[in-house]
Amino acid sequence: MLRTKNTIIIGIWLICCVALTIFYATAYPSHLLWQEQNQIFLNTSHWVGTYFDKPAWLGCLAGEWLTQFYSLPIAGAAILTIAIAFCVALFAKATLRFLPKAAAWSVTALFAILLFGCSLSSSTNLAFFLCIAGGLSLAFAEMYIIINKTRKIDLSPVIVPLAYWTFGFGALITALFICLFTFKRCATDHSKRYWWLTAGVALVFAAGFPALLCTSYALPYAKALLYPGLATPTIPQTKFEERLAIADSFYERDYALTKRLAMKAKEPDDITAFYYYLSTALQDSLPDCLLKYPVKNLGTLTTIGETTPLMVINMMNDLYYELGDMTYAERAAMMRNVFSPRNRNARMIRRLAEINLVSGDTLAALKYLRILDRTHAYVDWSKSHTPGMITPAIEADIMRRRAFSNNKDNIRLGDNCRNIILELLESNPGNTVALDYLLCTDLLLKDMDTFKMDYDTYCMSKCNPRYKDLYQQALMIYLAGTDAPEEEWNKYIVSTPLVQLFNRYSNRRGDPSFRGTYWYYFDKQ
C-alpha cells in the first residue's frame, strides 16, 4: 500500500517536472536566454574568488555557473525545473517532520506554486532557488542531527552562519525550519524543553550574523540579511517573452524571422515595431515597409538615460550599432553592463568586442575577446573574431561597418538621433541605413519641409537619388503643395504610374482604398 502511494507520488512528481520543463522550453525560452545574457561566468580562479566578496557565495556561484548553460537548447528549462523540484522536495520532506501529512502536502503545493510564480519573473535568477534549496538542505541536516542525536552539543551556531555564508537569505529558511521543528518536538515531548534554546540560538544567529558582517560586505543590514535578494511571483509574461524572442532573432541576425515574429505579435508596440523596421532597413526595404506595420517607432526619437528600461537600452545599442555610430553603441553597451548583476552582460561584452573591432581599437577588442574566451558559451565566437583568426565573412562584415561608421573627430552637440544620423551621413553619404532612417523619421513626423531638405542634401546633391515609392509619394505631396513647376516634377519623380495614381488620389483624398500609400497616411493617420 505504502509502496503504491510512493509510486503515485513519484509519478505525479515526474509528470509535474516534465510539464514544467516543457513549459519553460516552449513558452519561456527567451526569458531563459535573457537570464543567460544578463550575466557572465568566467572559468578562472580569479573570477570564482570574487564570489567570496559577498554572502551567499555558493548559491550565487552555482547559480551563475549553471545559468551559462541556459544558452543550450532545453538545458535552461531542465536546470530551472530541477532547481525548483529540488526546493519543493526538500520543503515537503522538511514540513513532514512537524506538520500532519495533509497540511504538509497542502503547504508544499502552495510553496511549489509560489516558486513557479517567482520563476516567471525576468528578474529572478537561479541563485534565488539555489539559496532556498541550500537553506532547506542545511535545515534538514540540523533536523537529522537532532533526531539522531549524533551530536550532544547544539550545532545550530555553526549551521546557521554556514547557511548564511553559503546561501545568504537561505539562513533565514534554515533558522525558520529549525524553530518549527524544535517547537513541534517541545510540544510533543516535555522532556525536550531545552530545545527551545536551539530555536532561539538559530534565530539569533540568523539575524545577528548578517548584522555582524554587513559592514565588511559593504551592504546595509536589510540587504545583507536577504542577500542575494528575494523574488516576486508573477503571472506568465507572455508579452515580454514575445518581445524577447523578436530581439533574440535579431541578435542572431535572422532578419526574416524578426519580421515574421513582429508581424505575428498579438499586441504590436514600440518594441516590435522597432525591430521590424530595423530588420527591414538592413534588408534595404525600410521605405517599402514603413507603412505596413501598425505601430510606427523607428527608435530615432528615443534617448537613453539612467531610468531607461533595460530592453530599450538593448534596442538603442542595436540601432546605433547598425546605423554605424560606434560611440553611442559603446555608450549603450557600457550602460547596459553597469545595470546588469556584477556589472557584466554577456551580450554587451560581445557587442563591445564587435564595436572595437569595427572602430579598429584592437587592444580594447582583444580585452573583451579574452573575457569571452573564458566562457563556456562564447569561446567559439571569440576565437572566430580574434584578429589573425577572423574568417573572411566576418572580416568583410567588419570592413563594411567600418566604412559606414563615423570618423570625424568633432564633438557632438546633442544626443538626439537626428543629429547622430546627420553626422553619420556627413561622414559617409553612402550609409543607406542611416539615410532611410533619416528620411523615414521625417515622413513619420509629416515634416515635409525637413524631408525635402534632407532628400536634397543627401540624395539629390550627392547625385544619388533614392527612387523608392514612399519617397516618390512624399515628394509629390511636397511638389504639389508648393506648386512646383513641371521641370521640378521631372527632376524628382520618375514613376509615371505613381503620378497617375497620385492624380487619382487627389480626386479622392482620404479614400481608404489608398490605405498603404504615404498620401493616405499623410491625410488620415
Partner: protein, 491 residues
C-alpha cells in the same frame, strides 16, 4: 568570508600538482614576453610579489628562479609566476639597492622547455612606507554609475577592501576620495544623488556637509588638503559632458563654470575671493607643501561645447594666508600653456617641494579622456619643465599623486587597452628622471586585468588602512542630516 579564504585551497591544489623543474639548458638570447611588462622596472622593497604571466598562448607551464645580487633566491612555478609573499619580502629586503635576476623557463603545450635570457628588476633604496593605495573603481564615464565604490589596496600584499561601496549607501554615486597626505583620518568624499553632500573627516570625526551655497557655483568637487589638516582647497564645478563623433576620442567632460573655494573644516565655512570666482574657469587646486599658495588651472571662458578645442588651461598660483583666511591679491601664471596650444590639468607638487607634476593635453580639463594626455614634471627650484617621456605612453596617462614618504608616485594609464585606466608606479630620481613604471601587482595579473571592467579612478597613496564607520555614513546620508556651510568672502 573574503576571497583570500580561497587562496589556501588554491595553494594546496597547486602544491598537489608538484613543482616541475626544467632540465638544464643554456638560456637563449631572447628575454621572455611577460605580462605585465616588469622587465627592468624599479620596485620598492615593500611591494607585493611581482607575479607575472607568460604572454604566449602556447606556454603551458613556467618555472622562474629569482636570485638577488646581494644573496637569497626563490622559485615559483605553475601556470604563471606566483611568488610566495613571505619569501618575496625576505628577498627584496635583502636586496635593497641591488638587482633581482629572473631566470625564466617555459614549457610549451608540446612539452618542450625553453629557457629565456634572464631579466632584472631593481630594488630601490627608496622605501615606500605607505600602507597602500586608495581609488575609486568605476566603469568608464558614461553618465551612469551603478556599482561603484572606493577601495583600498595594500601595497605589500594583494588585499583589497572597500572603504565605501555604493551598495552600502544604495543608489548614490561616490566621487573621488581626497586625503591629507595619505592620512587615514583626514579625508573627504563627495556623495551624489538624493541627500548628496560632502563626507568629511578632519581627524575629529565624521561630518556631512552641503557645500553648495547660493554664493558658489556648485558643489565642492576636486579637492586638496592644506598640510595643517584644517583647510581643503576645492574647485566648485558644474560639469557636463559631450560625446565625440568618432570612437577614438569618445567623451569630453567640461566645466560650465568652475571657481576656487577653500573649506575651513573647523567652522564649516567656505572662503572665496572674486579673483578666483570669475566667469573664467578655475579648477583642480593643490596647496603648495608649505601651505602658503595654491596651484590651480585657469582657462578663459569659451563658448561651449562648440569651442571645446579652444579651452586651454594655464597653470597658475595664488597665495593663501591661513592666519587671515584670505586669498592673495594676484594670480601668477606658472605655465602659459595656451601660448603653446596646450592645456594643463591636475597640478600635484611633491610633498618635499622639489617637483610639481601635471598633465598636458591638447585641450580641456579631463586628461583621462584624452589619449594625448601626458605627465610633465617641473623642477620647482629651477622652473624647468619637461615631459616624463620615460613614463608616458600613447594612451592617457593622468591622475598622478605623490607618496607622502617621497620619491614614489603613482598614476593612472590606459596603455593596456586604451579603455580602462590602471594603476602604475614609478620612482623619481634626484635629477628628476623617472624609472620605468610598473603596473600594480596582482596575484594572477592576466586574469585580473583581463576580467576587470573598471578604471582605477583618482588613485592616491594612504599611509594606513582607512576604517570607515559604514553604518554611520549610511545613516547620515539616509537621514539627510546635513550641515550647510557658510561663506566668507575674502578681498
Amino acid at each position: 568570508m573574503k576571497s583570500y579564504l580561497l587562496y589556501p585551497f588554491i595553494c594546496l591544489a597547486l602544491a598537489a600538482c608538484g613543482g616541475e623543474k626544467p632540465p638544464y639548458m643554456a638560456p637563449s638570447t631572447v628575454q621572455p614576453k611577460i605580462f605585465p611588462d616588469y622587465i627592468n622596472v624599479t620596485i620598492p622593497a615593500q611591494i607585493a610579489p611581482m607575479n607575472f604571466n607568460i604572454d604566449d598562448k602556447n606556454a603551458d607551464y613556467v618555472y622562474v628562479k629569482v636570485t638577488g645580487d646581494r644573496g637569497g633566491e626563490m622559485e615559483a612555478s605553475g601556470e604563471w609566476a606566483d611568488f610566495d609573499e613571505k619569501q618575496w619580502h625576505e628577498l627584496t629586503a635583502r636586496n635593497v639597492g641591488a638587482d633581482l635576476i629572473f631566470d625564466v623557463s617555459v614549457k610549451d603545450k608540446q612539452g618542450k622547455w625553453h629557457r629565456y635570457a634572464p631579466f632584472v628588476m631593481h630594488v630601490s633604496d627608496k622605501p615606500l612606507t605607505d600602507y597602500g593605495v586608495v581609488y575609486r573603481k568605476i566603469a568608464p564615464g558614461y553618465q551612469t554609475f551603478s556599482k561603484t565604490g572606493i577601495y583600498q589596496r595594500a601595497l605589500a600584499s594583494f588585499e583589497e577592501t572597500p572603504v565605501l561601496e555604493e551598495t552600502a549607501i544604495e543608489g548614490k554615486c561616490l566621487n573621488c576620495h581626497y586625503s591629507n597626505r595619505g592620512r587615514a583620518d583626514q579625508f573627504s568624499i563627495h556623495i551624489r544623488g538624493k541627500n548628496g553632500g560632502t563626507l568629511l573627516n578632519n581627524g575629529q570625526g565624521l561630518a556631512y556637509l552641503n557645500t553648495k551655497t547660493p554664493e558658489t557655483c556648485g558643489n565642492a568637487t576636486y579637492g586638496y588638503w592644506h598640510p595643517d589638516g584644517r583647510y581643503i582647497a576645492f574647485s566648485a564645478n558644474k560639469i557636463v559632458q559631450n560625446f565625440y563623433l568618432d570612437k577614438q576620442h569618445n567623451i569630453e567632460p567640461w566645466d560650465v563654470v568652475s571657481d576656487l573655494i577653500v573649506l575651513d573644516t573647523e567652522t564649516d565655512r567656505l572662503i572665496t575671493s572674486p579673483l578666483v570666482a570669475t566667469p573664467n574657469c578655475e579648477t583642480t587646486p593643490a596647496f603648495s607643501p608649505d601651505g602658503k599658495k595654491i596651484y590651480f588651472c585657469l582657462a578663459d571662458s569659451v563658448a561651449m561645447p562648440g569651442g571645446y578645442d579652444r579651452l586651454k588651461y594655464n597653470l597658475c598660483t595664488i597665495d593663501f594666508d591661513v592666519d587671515s583666511e584670505a586669498f592673495g591679491s594676484r594670480i601668477d601664471t606658472l605655465i602659459n600653456a595656451k601660448a603653446i596650444e596646450k592645456s594643463v590639468s591636475l597640478p600635484r607638487p611633491s610633498y618635499d617641494g622639489r617637483f610639481l607634476m601635471y598633465n598636458l593635453t591638447n585641450h580641456g580639463t579631463s586628461p583621462i579622456h584624452h589619449a594625448d594626455a601626458d605627465l610633465w614634471i617641473m623642477d620647482l627650484s629651477t622652473g624647468q619643465t619637461r615631459s616624463l617621456i620615460e613614463v608616458n605612453s600613447d594612451f592617457s596617462d593622468a591622475y598622478h599623486n605623490w607618496s607622502p614618504g617621497g620619491g614614489w608616485f603613482l598614476f593612472n594609464s590606459k596603455r593596456l587597452d586604451g579603455m580602462y585606466g590602471n594603476l602604475y608606479f614609478s620612482c623619481i630620481r634626484p635629477d628628476g628622471t623617472a624609472t620605468k613604471p610598473f603596473l600594480l601587482p596582482q596575484r594572477n595579473p592576466r586574469e585580473y586585468y583581463d576580467e576587470a571592467l573598471h578604471s582605477f579612478n583618482a588613485p592616491d597613496f594612504i599611509a594606513e588602512k582607512i576604517i570607515l564607520d559604514m553604518p554611520r555614513v549610511r545613516s547620515m546620508v539616509k537621514s539627510g542630516d546635513i550641515v550647510d556651510v557658510s561663506v566668507k568672502k575674502s578681498y
